[in-house]
Each structure stands twice: as C-alpha cells, then as structure tokens.
Amino acid sequence: MTQLFNWFRRGALERGLDRELQYHFDRRVADLTAAGIPEPEAHRRVTAELGLTQVREEVRDVWLTRWFRDFVYDLRFSARSFLRSPGFTAATLLSLALGIGATTAIYSLVDQVILHALPVRDPARLVLVDWKGDQAVGGFGSWNIMSYPMCRDLQQQTRFFDGVLCRAEIQVNLSAGGDPKPVAAEIVSGSYFSVLGIGPALGRVIEEADDAAPGAGPVIVLSHDFWRAEFGGAADIVGRKLLINQHPMTVVGVAPAAFHGVDVGAVPDFWIPASMYAEAFPGAEDAKDLLRRPTRWMQILARLRPDLTPAQAQVDLQPWFKSWLQDNMHRPGFPMITADRRRDYLASTLDLTSAPQGHSSLRRRLSQPLWVLFAATGVLLGLACLNVAGLFLARGSARGREIGTRLALGASRGRIGRQLLADSILLAMAGGILGVAVAPLAIRALLAFLPQDLAASALRATLSFPLLAFAFLVSFAAGLLSGLAPALHAGGGSLVSSLRERAGTGFGSIRLRKCIVTLQVSFSLILVIVAALFVRTLTGLLAKGPGFETTGILSFAIAPVQSGYSLAEAARLVRRLHEEVRALPGTRDSATARWAFLTGGSWNNAMTIQADRRIVTDDVNLNAVSPGFFSTLGIRILAGRDFDARDSRPPGEVGRRSAIVNEAFVKRYLAGRDSLGLHIGQGSGPDAKPDVVIVGVCADFNYRGLRDNSAQAFFPMFEGDDAGATFYVKVRGAPEQAIPSIRRLVRQADPRLPILWFRTLDDQVNRSLTTECLLAALSASFGALALLLSLIGLYGVMSFVVTRRTREIGIRLALGATGASAIRLVLRDAVTMIAVGMAIALPCVAVLGRLVQSQLFGVTATDPATVAAAALVLAAGALGAAFIPAWRASNVNPTDALRLE
C-alpha cells in the first residue's frame, strides 16, 4: 500500500532526497575546506565518500521494492510498444474484452441467483428443512412445502436449532386509498425476522405476538423499496392502515433496504404474519385452519446451533421425527390413507440442507442453465486466451531480433519472459476493463430474456464488488494463460540462431501455434454443437406448440375473492363477465378456466377411478373450464362430449357431477379402454368418493409448460366454487385491440376489481420458454463467436506457414509443381489440425452432453445429425479460412520467392 502511494509521489520524494543529499554534500565540503583542504580536492573526496548514485538507488529501493519498480517499468514499456502496433492491440483487446465481458455478465447472474448469501445475520448457519418421502397430505405452493404445525414443533427442538421460521410467497390485492392492485408479499411466521436477525429500519418488525392465534396480527411490514416507491418514503408510514384483500391492516414498520426476503426470485413488497392466512387466501378451500392442519404450503428455514453440522443434526433429529410422524396422523385434517401409503408416510425422513442463499424456485429452475452458460463462457474465454496467445507468438516471432539483441546485451531470459508476461497481463487488464464496461449492457440484454416482472424486481445489472473482483481475477488469469506460452517460448531457443534468422520469420514457434489452433478448433466445435442442440430444442418446442391454438387469443385473469367476494359472489361475477365478453362485437369465441395454462404451476391431486376395481392415480393436473373451452382453443374432443347445461347442478347445490379427461389419462390409468361413463373422484384414501362421471375424452395438450405430457382431468366451471378465473378470448383482428373494451366491461362490473394481467397466448407460450430462449440465443452467439475466433486463429497460423514456406513453394513451382499441388501442400496441414481438433472435441461432447440432456427436448446430446451438421459447418468455415493463404501460396511467383533470400 505504502509502495503504491510512494509510486504516485515519487517526484516529490526524489526532490526531497536531492535537497537532503545536497545539504550533506555542501556541509561536508564546507567542513573540509575549513580544515584547509582545497575546494576541488574536497569536492572529489566527498563525492567518493558518499557514492551519490548508489545511495539514490538504495533509497529508491526503500521506497519501492525493486520488483515493483521493474514491473512498473515493464508495464510502461509494454504500453508504449502496444501503442506502436494498434492493429494487433485492437485484435487482442477485442478478443479478451468479449471473453471477459461474456463471462462477467453470466457470472453476475450466477452470483445473484445461485451464490449470493442472504444479507442476514450469519447466513452460513441457515438450513432448509425438507421432507423426503410421502407427505400424504395435500398442499399448495412451489417446492419444499411443509405445514405450519411442523414449523411450530421444530421450534421446540432447541437442542438443534437456535430458531425456526416458515414462509410462503403470496399475491394479494393491496389498496392504499386508490384502486386495489395485485402485489407480491411474503407470509411469515412470527419468528421470521428474529431468526434471520433482521431489525426494522423504521417502526418494528413482525413479532411472535402477531402470530399467536388466527387473526392475532393484522399488521404488515413494508419492504424498503416498496415504501420508497409507493409511499415516497413517508416518515409517518407507521400506523397507517392499508387494505389487504379488502381487510384493513396496520403498517407497523419498514424493513432495511438491503433485505429482500429469503427468495431471490420472489421479492416481496411487504410481510404479513401467518396468523392472517384466512385474509391472505380468501375463499380457497384448501387453505382452511392452516395453523392447526397439516396442509403443506410453507418453506421451513432453521438456524442451526453453532456447534452442529447439517448432517449431524439431520441424523440426530430422526428419532424425534419418527414419533412426530405418528402424532401428526392424529391432527385434524390428516387424510385417510391406504396401508401402503401409510407405510410410505411412516418411512419418511427429514432432510437438512445448508441454505445460506435461502430458498428459491427461480434458482431451482435457472441454476442448471446458468451453470451450462457459465461453462460455455469459460470455454469462450479459453478460446479468446488461445487467440491472444497465438497473436503473441506471432508478435514474438516478429520481435525475435529485438529479443535476441536484448539477450545478447545481457538481459536474462527470465527478465525477457517477465517482460512478455507483463505485456499480456497489461493487455488482459485493459481487456478486462473493457469487458467490465460492456458487462452491464450484456447483463441487461440477458435480463431481457427473463420475464419482465422478475427481472425488474429481483435481478440487477449493477456491478458489485464480488463481480469486479471476479472480473479482475479472470483478466489476470487470462493474461497469465495467454502470456505463459510466449513467455516460456522466449526463455528457450538459441540466441545465435535467432539473431541469424531473417526478420519476419523468427522463432520456430510454428508447432506451438498449430497446437493452439487445434485446441481452438475443438473448443469451438464443442460450443457449436451445444448451440445447435439448444437451438433445435427451442425450434422443436415452438414447432410442436402447446397443442392448442395460440394466435389471435387474448387472456386475462381476475381474482374476485381477493377483493372481498365470497365464493358464490365470485362465481356469479365470473359467469356474468364470461357472458358479457362473449357478447362483445370483437369476440369470435371465448372461454374461461379457473387456473391459467402454461404458467408452470397447476392444481394437482391424486384421483380414484371406479372401474371394475378401484384405481388410485398419481398426481393428476386438474382444472375447471367453461363449456366451449375446448372448441375455443381448438382442442379436439376424441370421445364423448364437451360440457354443457346438463353438467350444472341445480341452484344452491355445490359440487361437480361430470369430468373430461385427456388421452394421456386414459392411456396411463385405463390402458386405453373406453372410459366414458366411469366414475372418478378426488383423493386417494379409502374415503375418496368416485362420484364424478367421465363424459368426454380430449386430445392431449400442455398444461404447465411445453414439455409436459401429464394426465389431466377437467371439471365444469360455474359450480359456485370459482375463486377466480382466467379468460381466453378469441378476437377478430389484433388481440391487443380488445383490451380497452374488456377493461371497460370489468370496470362496469366492479370498478375496484383489478385485472391481474393481460397477455396474448403467443406471449404466454414465449414466457413459458424463457429458459430455452435464453439458452438457445446465448449459446448460439457464443458458438458464433467461438467459430469466428478459431477461424481467425487458423487463418493467422496458415498465413504464417505460407510466409515461412514461400521460398520452398517457389522452388517447387519452379521445378514444375502445379498450383493445385501447392494448395494441397498447405491445406494438408490445415486438414490435420481440423481433424485432430474434432477428434478431441467429440468425446468431450459425449461427456458434456449428459450434463445438458435434461435441458434438451426432442434431441439427444449426441444426436448424430446435429453433431454432423455442426462439424460440417466448422469444417467448411475452417477450410475456407485456410484456403485463402493456400491460394496465395499457389500464386507465388518463383522468381520473387527466390529473390527473397
């Protein structure tokens, strides 16, 4: 540190030292002349005595160690020599900036989504509690969902935990005076903030007392961002009343700015205690008595005691869990289950996994694609380094005489090697700075692939300190990597021969350069194949489609129960809107479903089929749809009929009487036999009542996402249990044009009811393919870049070869060889490099392919056609790049070539 400081004030230091030494000198001379020595003699003697030059050097060594000074001089020398060859500098800088920029951008997402520890007290001690085995009870939510009573019981296990919290992400309607609007929130146990060690920025946080009994805590804590954005950071926010799903709740505090909840993919606008579940999930039939029933809906995170590891605690916890499983079966709401399931249930275990990053379904979805892309950028960066190494070797050849001369003048080989290393490190650092400068743009482009609501709230395109540290390390490593080969090369080689050689040919570095190009070919083939696989996956999915019509269809959703409606009122409203939308002049056809399709989620339950015997299914994807749903979306009814008036219960009666199942359901559970007229019912236990008759079979289509082929069953809508609805409106003309008139309809029905979203079905399909789009677009651009880099490398080395062999080729031509044979001579080299490169790449693809297989669709990682096509593209490009120098060789004029000597 002092050294760096000294470097910047070295001018002042030098001047001070000069004055100091001058003083000494003058005093000494004065003393000597006073003692009678003549002045010239005194001058001479003092000069010898002091040894000024050496003293200066020694003092400079005190200020800055020799190593540091030399290094700085090296860097200055490098910078000057780079400025003299701008073409070379631009080419290398661009290669490195691309490699480092891409790696940094992807790393920023990896860091934010996967690696970043929560900004809470001692995040390393947080563990996620997860159930392994059959939980037997139903639930709702994303992953790792557990019951609230389980969290309470775990809190008693103070031998293992310093605290246990549970939480779930929810969407509610919030109104703060104006119109209600849907916002994201986190519903949490009273222990949430204390376990995480998060205090309030204003007011107080949610405490145990707020979560003591159902309805005990009508309070919320706002997130800092929401407080700022929605309330302008009002200082008097604490104590204000807001309407959450039309229930008044009091703001008691604001969370710190850095804290965004425990899920990086779901940033809440506020927190609400679990005791307010009834207000948070109005009208949901599976959300009753959540504080006592074993319904699964929350993730459990615990703070482990400092002396325990997750593995230890997990083992020691099992005996308690065994007896807990028994107790749990006597809770209210625990379902009746068959003996088989009971055995599975009792064999369950608890899993504790370290969770310093919290829980995130986004991480679950994106972590593998992100690692794949990160690996791809790593390969790309490697390629860029190889390119730079190749360019350096070429430059080293050109500088052979300079280096030879320096060696002859007494520079050590280590010193020259260090100079070359300084060259490459300086260049890599400059490339790194460029890369970091473009990284935010690249990150923003990356985020454009993710759904907007998520990208806006959870992920940021800012440069953080870890990111900068990462970019610095990467640049440094790139500099070392790309400078190492040339530096080692300068260390070897005979001095005499290098001096004797002609300028322009220089060191015999050709073999090393060929190795580099071969590696480049194999790296880029790997990237091109990966890109081809992902592009085929995406185009395959798009070509297949969801199995229903998407063009010209607009969808929108409402959730009346969140605006204070009862179930019956909500059902009436949905029915009324359904009829009014159908009557709109621009509507060709319209239908509704209770849950939206292609959002990734679904309503699931196991079903019991009453055939010749009782058949219990696995989880089936369920939905309720209006009559005409199948024809609106162009889904064929294969047998039986669509829902109609016959399926409605008489007024006042609630429940369903008929169902339509899909082809996959019939194939999987009924072995394809005629299923019309069979009875099915929800649930898997002995208490399940198969009282719903199958009236139709529909063609398969995708429910959750484009990859699924699940068994599905549909019930009719408008049976008095519709909490909300998604409308699918087939429109004349552009779908967006219908939005204003629909908005007007909803406003007329209830001015305070928010529309959750408007989306065309085409857009919905694209949203469901974000991961695939991300992978395809990025891997394709990485593949193209890689191809470009390696072709440049190949072209460079072949040109070099031709230059070196100009004389030889000239002689051959003079002796009667044809131009074609000269081309062959040069291309043979290129073909060898390409072939060896491919031979290296293919086994790598076979190994790597297994890692990406789960991301693919309709194609295996070693798909011969894809691999062959990629290899063909590479080979064609590479031969093209090699052909230009080869052709030049065939046109060598023998006389010119011989005159070169």
Binding site: L17, Y23, H24, D26, Q54, V62
Partner: protein, 112 residues
C-alpha cells in the same frame, strides 16, 4: 586506503541511529558527525549508507522528518524519534544487552 577501523556490524546501524536521535532531533549530516564522534576510533560508517537507513526507519514509522532551519541558516531535513521508534529502541537495547551478555558469558566460560 585500508582502514584500521572495522565496519559496523550488520543491523546495528539502525539501533545507533535510533539512539542518537533519542537524545535530540538531528539532520542527516548531524547524525553522520555524531556517529563519527561517538565511534571515532572504533567503527567505520559509510556516510552514504546512512540515508537508505534513515528512509527505511521513516517508512517503518519509527522516525518523523521535517524541514527546519539548521544551525547554518539553511533548510535541512531533521529527523526525530516517534513513540514507536522509542519503543523500538528499548527493545533493541534489551536484545543487544542479552546477546552481548550471552556472548560475554561464553567467552568467560572459555577463558576460565
């Protein structure tokens, strides 16, 4: 010109400088003269080697330097001891005493 005086043992120059400056602040030439007086007939100090040592001690924070008017009226760089330097001097004195004591003991042992 061969000198009858022997060169100063390695590492003791720093200690001597600290000792001289513990009496009063001085500039480089002054320290050189003081060294000369103290050790006139015994040790030989290369005048030049004084300056690297002074800058090293200053960088370590044991010395403080400031430009002041010297006795001849010209500005000179005066060095003085910092509290850290004073502590360092005590430490070095002690360890020197221990070392020379130990060596004396060995010699006495040998001459007996």
């Amino acid at each position: 010109m061969p000198s009858p005086r022997f060169p100063i043992p390695q590492g003791t120059l720093d200690m001597l400088i600290l000792q001289i400056l513990s009496l009063e602040p001085a500039h480089g030439y002054g320290i050189a003269q003081r060294l000369e007086q103290i050790s006139r007939s015994v040790v030989q100090v290369n005048q030049g080697s004084l300056y690297p040592a002074l800058h090293r001690l200053e960088q370590k924070g044991w010395l403080r330097a400031e430009w002041k008017q010297s006795e001849t009226g010209r500005e000179a760089k005066f060095y003085s001891l910092t509290p850290a330097g004073r502590r360092q001097l005590t430490i070095e004195k002690e360890s020197w005493a221990r070392l020379s004591g130990a060596i004396n003991l060995i010699f006495e042992e040998g001459s007996r």
